[in-house]
Structures are given as structure tokens and as C-alpha cells.
Symmetry: C2
Subunit: 505 residues, 2 copies
Amino acid sequence: MSTNNLLGRRNFIKGIGAASIAIAAPAMAISEKTDGVEWDKEVEILIVGSGFAGLAAAIEATRQGAKDVHIFEKMSYYGGNSAINGGLFAAPQTPMQKKEGIKDSVDTMVQDQVNAGRGIADVALLDHIAKHAMEALQMTLDVGAEYHPYLQQLGGHSVARTYQTTVSCGAGITQPLLEECRKIGVHTHNRTKFEGFILGQNDEVIGVKMHDNYYFGEDQPGKTSNIRVKRGVIMATGGFAQNIDLRMSQDPTLTAEVGCTNAPGATGEGMYQMFRLGAVPVHLAHIQSGPWASPDEGGFGYVSNYSIYNFPHSIAINRLTGQRFMNEIADRKTRADAELNCRDAKGDALPPILITSYKDSKKHPNTKKVIKYNVGWKFDSIEDLAKHFEVPLTPLKQQIGEYNEYVKTQNDPQFGKNMTEAKGKFIEAPFTVVRLWPKVHYCQGGVQINTKAEVKDSLTGKSIKGLYAAGEVTGGIHGVSRLGSCSIPECMVMGMTAARSIMKA
Amino acid sequence: MSTNNLLGRRNFIKGIGAASIAIAAPAMAISEKTDGVEWDKEVEILIVGSGFAGLAAAIEATRQGAKDVHIFEKMSYYGGNSAINGGLFAAPQTPMQKKEGIKDSVDTMVQDQVNAGRGIADVALLDHIAKHAMEALQMTLDVGAEYHPYLQQLGGHSVARTYQTTVSCGAGITQPLLEECRKIGVHTHNRTKFEGFILGQNDEVIGVKMHDNYYFGEDQPGKTSNIRVKRGVIMATGGFAQNIDLRMSQDPTLTAEVGCTNAPGATGEGMYQMFRLGAVPVHLAHIQSGPWASPDEGGFGYVSNYSIYNFPHSIAINRLTGQRFMNEIADRKTRADAELNCRDAKGDALPPILITSYKDSKKHPNTKKVIKYNVGWKFDSIEDLAKHFEVPLTPLKQQIGEYNEYVKTQNDPQFGKNMTEAKGKFIEAPFTVVRLWPKVHYCQGGVQINTKAEVKDSLTGKSIKGLYAAGEVTGGIHGVSRLGSCSIPECMVMGMTAARSIMKA
């Protein structure tokens, strides 16, 4: 067993017994019927959550004519988990693709995602999102988001189609969206926690209960307001990767000791409340780990974006064998599973290394930072590198030689890597190196929605009136494994879709 | 695309759009608080569902001193899906294992299941069940269940540990259990459908709503009774394999055209009502297909038990290649996935065949039936067999020759099959042959429970007072894939456990 808890993912096996110890979150009221409810306030549209989905919904609703739109955020800061993600945005047939001469289509993007979804992705939703992705990208550009002047080809994507914010982070989108919200009159409320729905006589959502002056993680009484909602509620409350109890119920190995890239607020209560209302749970068991994370820093850190950028022209090496063990740009699940299999002779975790030529890595702004903060290292020779990481030198040298042949021939017979983006980028000294180990990153599961962002009632099969959901709180769209850079378009398109549906209802 | 719908599993890909068309089931009332509830009746313990779990719970509760135990069943007949399953019961360290000299243990049985569960099974629950499996088997013997005088080694089990009823069907257990229930004074009610919980002031379950004179599948008004429950409610409502809408939300390929072994009542409303109460959904996405089913008959049919019995001493052949394509006694998921990959040159489904020596197959009572009903065939020569199924003769003959070597050496280098049970059983003419194609069989997912059969509230993390669940309606126990013959012990042990917990509460 590993003595390093950060690395212990597959070493920890615990049962429900351990998982069911009382969680810290306070008990929340179950949704109530209106009988006797006294309203504290009335709004036109109420959005829970201030990430990509919530912000895009607020802007689109206002554009469609809504006059009194409110966003409620439980944390003290806005942007949720979106603000700290990698700021990667995939879309087909964009201006940058045209400029770079990359042939792409909605169908190609959908097919790439269907493949990663391993047959159980929702094709209708993927298609809807890919068709509107360019429109969502345009919304971010309109409000002032800035992107690097090049596209990236992320794992599982058959072409380069991913924009990235110049700050290499989701805040490069959430901040301009938030500013735009305020400019156009959207009301934003922080430290206000959603506590449940209030239903009308026909079980339609007509209001919500909100806990005011909420301090995250503290067990507090506080006042609850009853807010009447005229048009409807959009739940954009995000995933549950930080809810240890829930993620362990789906995978007992995902204990508190396992690294996680998410903001602390990603605890899933909004999703739970929708299940209580009758929403259909889909694919909760499919929790994704990011294969680009480092065991040498907390959360998403600096390495994640560094390695996402560098994977196409790098080699990932198993330190026990000195050899490659995966296609460096396979989908996330394929790579995370392969990394978790990198073990020493005793079976303990032995994080593999990603080797990149310094000359090719230095273009990315994080390269200096990973070296500065000691979560990545520069080596002048292969001998130094091998010694530092205790990798057998001879097979390592041979592997690099073979890989450089694949760069030359543009063909990887070893793992079938698409070598297009590696063209001319040989693995040569000096090298930049980081260690890799998966961290819990994204919840493919959530409540079932349709292409109108409506939430289905499990027993009637009809949409729950007055309720819409968008973003990571919804499930089933991506199937077993979501491709990188497909979350921002999903969140934004479905947020916009929810706003349009609500204005038409 | 296949022209045979029965075989179309992987050929059908549909999105949520199709799945969200209104389902046939009528809307059901959401659970209510007691305010103003008029009670029609009061009982001590109320059990919903009359399969293995419900019946075992009723008997155990009565043995523990309960005087007024009621079982409610929505169908006209008792036994649910349990009554039509294969009647296979796995337990470690049984009298028959001792007699046959088979070394086994609780830990070995748990480890076999953990392996099939692919790392996400609930070890604490598996351990609890394996420890009490012998006790549950004894309950069935006490009430008069009869078993074949030999053990079987099912796929994924490392030893032979499976009893099977002499009628080769679950009714060989549910019928004696039902008779025992009536003998000891348990009240049984059919055509009575559970419609929701009634909660006390602290959200504890204090009663249920029951639809009387219910006719399955008909949209009917009917009278609803409010039943006060003194000790608690045990939900033993089974899986949801017959709920097309729900299974497609988890896997869009599992359309109505895909075969299913389950009784029609397995539609999951009981589980849905528990989610509305706040139960945690676990592993709904893991729906198991039975690799022993035949495309030549409906449901579980005659072939399933025939092939379960014969797999250890048979070879499964891909008709396109004439060669084996799997370990015939791997776990269910491994085999179902391998069968689904058997395709003709155009990619259409080409159900593989299971070839058994007639002399070895004829011991099983179903062999005569599969031949009589034309869902299995007898051939005097390999040439006739190859011609009938259009299998290339030369590779088939060579494959049989090689396999017979493995029988002799007790070692299968091709797929690592455990050859113990194949000893001396060479593949020789005359042959019995059936076709194989997976059918939807079992839902690994459901509500989360602990080893007391208590149901956890998603928001408080505590058990929901007055509520217990047992059997297929619960989830997470088996992980990705349940081993054959492990459902009956699970249902019975957890039913008994629920009864013990309720009597201690």
C-alpha cells in the first residue's frame, strides 16, 4: 500500500459502513406545497448557481426580454467551479479553424464525444450543443473574453478545435459574463443557499426557499426566505465531486484522500433536491478523473493546463519500465485508467512522468510556473532525468528513439496516437518533466434533461413545470467519459437553451 | 442494421428525445405529510413486494415476534420477478460443498464478486450477505424448497458453490416461502399497488398509500387507502429492467426491441418513490445483460438454464471465424460484451453458438425441452452442425481439437478458463447446440443501504426512520457486474436483515 495518501486512489477500498458516517452538511427542508407559505419576495426568473450555465442563462434571458432575472450563489464569490476550470472551449467550424485550415463539422465533434461516451452518451443533446457551440463562443467574445491565438487538439478530439482563455482558466469567461450580467441589470446574490422548492397545487415549481447570509461549511440556523418565481427556476448548481460521501457511494475508492480539482462548493445539494422532486438520476456512477493532474500540487494547479497543452508532443513514461504505456491524447478515462496501472514492484502507486522538449513546452505560460513552484523540472540530459526519477536508462533511451521515428513518419504503431500536432516536435534535450496522477474532476451523472433543458418527472414521464436545469448538474449527455473542453460549451449552450425555453413557456 | 429486432441491441442508438415520450404508467401521488391524513387501517410491519426479499423478511419478522405482518403485491400473482428467475443460490461452506470436497470460504465468495464488480462493489454488504447466505439457504430448506443433488460452477465463481432448485426456477423457493408465510399468519394482498409514503412531523415514514384493486398496466382511478404502519416499511420492490424509459436513460441502446428476461412488473416505481424521499441513487447505469440467453425464444426461456449448466463443459463459437471468442465461464458482463461483438462482415448481429456433447448436456432437464421447442438442435456430425449454422468447417474442427487438448491438460491457454468442471468432458459428436445473445436481466443500481438494510437520506447522511429496503431495488452492492446465483442470497439475507433491524428499532 502506498504511504502517500495523494496517490492512494486504487489502494483504498471502503464499504458503505465508512461512507455512511454522518456528513457535515446540515439537514435541509424537503420541498413544500404552497399551503400557508408566506412569500418574502417575487422575481421573474430565478437562477441557482453562478457558473457558466447560470451566467449564460441570465444573459440570454435578458436578451430575450426578461426584466427581473436573479442569480443566487451560495459561496461568497461568484463563478463556482467554472471559475477555476481550465478555460478550454471546444467548438466546430470556428473562425480559428478556418484560419488554420482545419476541417471540422458538428457531426465530427459529436462522433468524437460518442466514442468517448462508450455507446451511452445522449446523441440528441450532444448534437444540440455542438450546433449551438459557436453561438455560445460568440457570447463570450461579445462580452470581452480573450483567447490564445492558437487552437489545441485535446485527448479524444480528432482535430484541433479547442480555444483557451489567455488566463488559461475559466475565470477568463465567468468574469466578463458576470460583468455583463450586472451591466444589463441581472441581480446577483452571493452567500445565499438554495434549500428547496415550493410547489403549486399541480406539483409545478412556483418558488424556492433560500437561506440568507449563508457561510459555506458552517452549521448555522439563519433565516430562510420564500421567493415566488413568476416564470421559472433554472438549476445551474454544478457537479458533486467534492461530496465525498456521494462519490464514495458510487466508487468506494474515491475517498477524501484522493485528489480533486473542484472548487469546494461542488457538493450536489441542488441535484439531490431535484431527485426529491422526481427528477431521473442518470449515470451518477460515471465520475471522471483528470489524467493531466499532478500529485505534486493540490487541485487543478499549474500542471494540468501545462500537460493538456503538451500531451500532443510529449511522451508519457512508466517509471518502472522506462516505456510508454498509453496514447498521450486518448480520452480522459482511457488515460486515467492507464496511469492508475503504473505501479512499482510492490503494487504501490508510481506516478508516471510526462517528458517534453523544453523548446516545445516553453510556449505555454505555465511552463515557467511549474518549474518555479517545483511541480515540474528541467533536465539538460536524459541521464539526469533518468537518475532523478529512477527510470531504467536503456529502455528509456530506446523508447525516445522509437517515438522520434513516429514523429518523423507521422505514424504511432505503438499506441495509435494521432501524430499531426507532433509534427517536427522531436523529444530532445533539454527536457521539461512533470509527474502525472489522476484527480477527481467531473461528474458525468446528474438529472435527466431534454434538448429544451426541461427536467423529466420519473413517474409521469412529463417535464416538471417551472423547472429547468443546465450544466454539470445534469447527466447522461457525455456517457461514460466526457472529452476535455466540452463542458464549457455544454454549460453555456444549455444555460442559453433553458433561458429560451423559460421565455417561451 | 439487423433485420431481426431481437438482436438489435448495439444497433439502436436513440437520444433522450425518443426516450422522453410520455410513458404509460399513470402519475402517482408524491409522498405526503400526515396533516389531515385519515387512516384506513393500521398494521405492524408493511412489506411492499412478494419476491425473495419480501417473503424472507415476512418470515423472519414473524420468527422475531411480529404479530401483524402484511405483504402487498401489485400483480395478480405472488413472487414477482423472483418466481421466474433461474432458482440458482450461491453460498459458501454448504453441506453439498463438504460432500463434494470443495474448499470455499466467505472471503473467497466475496473476492469473486469484488472482481466481477470491477472495484466498485460494496465489500461490507457482500461480506454481510456471504456470512448469512447459509442461514438463508437453511430457511428455504426448512420451508421445503428442493434442490438438484449437485453443485454448479457459474461464470466468475472460482469454485462450484451454486445450488439450483429441482424445478430450475425461482418459484421452487418463492412458492414454499409464500406457503410458510400464510401458515405462520402473514397477511398477503395482491393487486395492491404502492403509491407513496406518508411522513410524520420529523420526516419519518409512518405509513403508505396503497391503490386497491389494481390492474397492472391499466390507467385506472381506483381507491387509495392510507395505511398506518407501527414498526416500519420494508421496500422489496425489485429492479427496473422492464422500465424501457428508465433503462434507455441509462443506456440508449436498451430499447423496447431488446430482449429482457424479467417479469413485466419490474418497473421501478418503488425505487423512484424512495428517491423522492431522499434516498441516494447508486449505480443505476450498471444494467446487466445475461450472456446465456437465446434469441430464439422470449424472456429467460428454456435456453438460459440449459446454457448456465452447460457452459463449463462447452465451447462458444463465433460463427464468422469458427473459433472461440471468450472464456465460457467468465463473469456475465465479460461474456455479454464478447457476444455483442460477434458480427457478420456487414456488422450485423451474428449470434454465436454454444456447442456441447449431447452426452454431457442430457443430464440437465432442459435439454429435451430446448430440442423439442426448436430453440436448440442436435447434430450427429460436425459437418452437419457447421452447415446448419454456416460456420467455416476447417477452423471449427481445429478449434474443437485444440479445446479437447485443454480438457486433457486442464489448462486453457486461449482464454484462461478454469477447466476443473470440464474434466473428462471432451467435445464429441453427437452435439447439442443453442444460439446465444444477451438479454437485459438485472439492475445493479438502486437505493443505497447499509448492512442493517437502512436507507440513507442524501442530505442528512442519516438513515430515514421507519424505512428499510432489500433486494434488487437496492444498489451498489455488486458494482459493475453481479455474479450469477448471487441475487437470491442477497435478496433473502437483506430481507431477513431488514426484519431484524425493524424488530430492534
